[in-house]
């Protein structure tokens, strides 16, 4: 059930020039949230920023009762968030959205291909953790602008996930974008279910690729949100055949065929 939580900040750590990881003590939420779901964070009690900030659940430890958020400092809210210190707390609403659809446990021949562009890595660690728990063979393809922006690869490797990287400037891994990286990987005849998150242009290119290869894919989308609760109707994405879906309640995860990017 969606609830409002005052979550104590356990850690708020800078991982890269503009990327931070926030660890929150919020047991009741940690026990029910699923990969791909998100929370709405009220960063301050002032009117600047005014709206809440939607952030995916990056990681979750149900036993410890904690969740982690991974965020990029882009504007007022995310910068304000990066100034908060352990001891303080933030109010969050969640769990929100549908989350990824996971394959049945131990199903034969299930390969998962996680595709992340930039901060799109955020929801994929929690997803990887659950896939690995279901014994799904999981691989991460991860693209960022430079080597410094590639964060948290260790955590994936510790789960036993194979990681391949690329950067726009070639400072680590392949020089190029993550769709090229996936295309290269698929050339060897490999296949799998794609789980992707990243900027819309990347997802658009990825949509072409998975269609041409006949792969199933789920995309975690972003849209500018006011409520996150299905009430404001602000967060729309076009759907095939006309009309819109709501990213906060129908998504944020969509089957690639469900949306017009």
């Amino acid at each position: 059930m969606i609830s409002s939580y005052d979550a104590a900040i356990l850690e708020n750590q800078q991982l890269a020039p503009s990327i931070w990881r926030l660890q929150l003590d919020v047991a009741a939420l940690a026990q029910q949230v699923r990969p791909g779901q998100f929370v709405q964070v009220r960063v301050t009690n002032t009117y600047d920023p005014f709206l809440r900030t939607p952030l995916s659940v990056h990681d979750c430890d149900a036993k410890a009762g904690t969740i982690a958020l991974l965020y990029q400092t882009v504007g007022t809210s995310t910068h304000a968030l990066s100034r908060l210190r352990p001891g303080a707390s933030v109010n969050i609403l969640g769990p929100l959205g549908n989350g990824f659809t996971l394959p049945p446990a131990r199903s034969n021949g299930n390969f998962a291909l996680l595709v992340a562009g930039g901060i799109g890595i955020a929801p994929l660690l929690f997803l990887a953790r659950e896939l690995v728990a279901k014994k799904v063979s999981t691989r991460l393809l991860y693209g960022a602008r430079t080597a410094a922006d590639l964060t948290g690869i260790d955590a994936f490797e510790q789960l036993g996930v194979a990681v391949a990287c690329c950067t726009d400037d070639g400072s680590q891994g392949l020089k190029g974008n993550v769709v090229d990286l996936l295309a290269g990987y698929l050339q060897s005849g490999a296949a799998g279910d794609v789980y992707a998150c990243g900027p819309t242009p990347m997802l658009r290119a990825l949509q072409q690729l998975v269609r041409s290869k006949g792969l199933a894919a789920q995309f975690s989308l972003e849209a500018y949100m006011a409520c996150g609760l299905g009430a404001c109707l602000g967060c729309v994405v076009a759907v095939p055949g006309g009309g819109y879906a709501h990213v906060c309640t129908d998504g944020p995860v969509f089957k690639e065929r469900e949306v017009e990017l």
């Binding site: 059930m1 609830s3 729309v236 819109y244």
Partner: protein, 304 residues
């Protein structure tokens, strides 16, 4: 235990307290069920409803502004039939005081809508003649005294339910529009709808909203809303419902002091989903602290 009487009567509509949720900001209420008892609210004004389903405007549809937000939803809604079949039974079984916000392109459409909405479980109608986010109809109605009179008097002939007319702030003299609505038979007035605004991304040199312009709401507009509610409350005899930037009980009290018999909570629902319930408690606490027993002692109590 000292109790206070929060009941108000809005042109025939009896409310258990003066706190409603504003159209378009609280969905159909159902979306907020996990945050509180919908039945404890004065009432829920549902999303603007049209005869036919509407897809709404292209994205981006919302954007934050200083102490507020712009929206250009464009009246996305599933249409009156779907509302009656799908949402009304739920609201009725929950016992929610349900007010339906109606939007149309013509007087005839408004009248047909009103007729379709004469249903058990609907407590009142709110006539939205002030939506800035649709091309035809919408705000145009709300900016002309003549059109206001025409649509209000016609709709009244097709409805037995209390009729609340929701006014646009994008006018030179809101008191005169209010008087026109009163003269035409409105049972109550609600104000304000959003101020027409715009946002631009200087990097891309494009409007941020897909619809270019949108409606401004939130604390930013509270001073304008408060002024208009005060002006209108002095200009008419029918009850006035205050809307605009109400985030806290203190905000709500200001509107009531200026003459509002009830208030609606809008964008606050996005920031704090329990806002409406908190406001009810805060109003009750204020009355007790100030030795009042009835909310009616506070309505219009402003001393100039």
């Amino acid at each position: 235990m000292s109790t206070v009487d929060l009941r108000v009567n809005i042109g025939g509509l009896q409310l258990k307290n003066p706190v409603l949720t504003a159209s378009g900001t609280f969905g159909y209420g159902i979306e907020f069920q996990s945050f509180g008892d919908l039945n404890a609210l004065g009432g829920v004004v549902v999303k603007g409803t049209t005869l036919e389903p509407r897809a709404g405007n292209p994205p981006q549809r919302v954007v934050e502004t200083a102490a507020g937000m712009l929206n250009s939803i464009g009246l996305e809604n599933p249409g009156v039939d779907y509302f009656l079949e799908h949402y009304l039974p739920q609201l009725r079984s929950l016992g929610v005081t349900t007010i339906v916000n109606m939007a149309g392109n013509s007087v005839a459409e408004y009248c047909e809508l009103a007729e379709r909405l004469q249903q058990p479980g609907i407590a009142a109608l709110e006539l939205n003649i002030s939506c800035p986010n649709v091309k035809a109809g919408g705000m145009a109605f709300g900016t002309s005294e003549k059109l206001v009179e025409e649509v209000v008097s016609q709709v009244k002939e097709h409805s037995r339910l209390p009729l609340i007319v929701k006014l646009s702030p994008n006018v030179t003299d809101i008191a005169r529009i209010a008087q026109a609505a009163e003269a035409a038979g409105a049972d109550a007035l609600s104000l304000i709808n959003t101020l027409l605004g715009m946002a631009v991304d200087h990097r891309t040199r494009r409007p941020i909203l897909g619809n270019v312009v949108g409606g401004l709401s939130g604390p930013a507009i509270k001073p304008v809303a408060l002024r208009m509610v005060w002006q209108v409350a002095q200009a008419v005899q029918i009850p006035v419902i205050g809307i605009g930037g109400i985030m806290t009980a203190a905000d709500a009290l200001e509107f009531i002091i200026c003459g509002a018999s009830a208030i609606q909570v809008g964008a606050a629902n996005f920031v704090e989903p329990v806002a409406a319930w908190q406001i009810i408690d805060g109003i009750a606490a204020y009355l007790k602290e100030n030795g009042m027993t009835d909310i009616k002692q506070l309505i219009g109590s402003l001393e100039i």
